[in-house]
């Protein structure tokens, strides 16, 4: 399976993320279980239980949740990993959530 690519953080990276953010957005689906989605968020992003559950509930109640924001390369890698877990995830550009 593809692993999320990581590389050393730099000031340039942080500046780019602020100026040119990419969002990883998870959309609701009627199939995947709530507990499964929480587990995926914890494993993929390393979120704690509270944060993972908050995103899961947002997906369930509002139809979507921005689960991660940052540079494009990492956002793409996260979207791809979420697809491997059979979640519906999209990459969105810009500040508006």
């Amino acid at each position: 399976m593809t692993q999320t690519k990581t590389r050393p953080e730099t000031e340039a990276d942080s500046a780019t993320e602020l100026v040119d953010p990419w969002h990883v957005v998870v959309l609701n689906d009627p199939v995947n279980l709530m507990s499964y989605v929480v587990l995926v968020f914890k494993r993929v992003f390393g979120y704690d239980e509270v944060r993972a559950r908050r995103h899961m509930l947002e997906v369930h109640q509002r139809g979507r949740s921005v689960v991660w924001t940052g540079n494009r390369e990492k956002a793409e890698a996260y979207v791809h990993t979420l697809h491997q877990w059979q979640l519906t995830a999209v990459l969105e550009h810009g500040e508006a959530n």
């Binding site: 399976m1 507990s35 499964y36 239980e49 697809h83 059979q86 519906t88 990459l91 550009h93």
Partner: protein, 154 residues
Amino acid sequence: MAKRIEVRLALPVVRPLIDFLLPLAKADRDQLPVPQDWSNVDEDLRAHWREDLVAALGSDLAVFTGLFDKAFRSTGVVEFDQTEALAVLRACSILRLRLRSGDLAGLSDEALESGEIDFFGLDEKGRLAFTCYLFLASLQETLVRHLDPEIGAG
């Protein structure tokens, strides 16, 4: 040493479900169960992603079908390690998505999400498909609880 997970299933109940699910798991290994929106993904990446997702799907489904082999059919026990458990979790999602777009396509998203359906209004194949759909959910819940006891504890 890797922790082993053992799930004991009621063979007379589960066998017909497995008989229904195995052909579904072995078919269309090159078909993704969910159409994903890749409009913002670099064009160069799309073909590579698809290929990678198909390979991952095939691998997860192979773990699932491997578990329910001859040994399971005589004992009703499936046993796996954590890595296999994660693959089975994903395989259950793949199969539930396939059921949704196949034999359960006539059910609304709301009905599937709530589980409130007219079971006896379904034909025989639909009833079996829906029972499989619930069985896979139950297997996922069991695995999630085992892999991460914190989930669902609150």
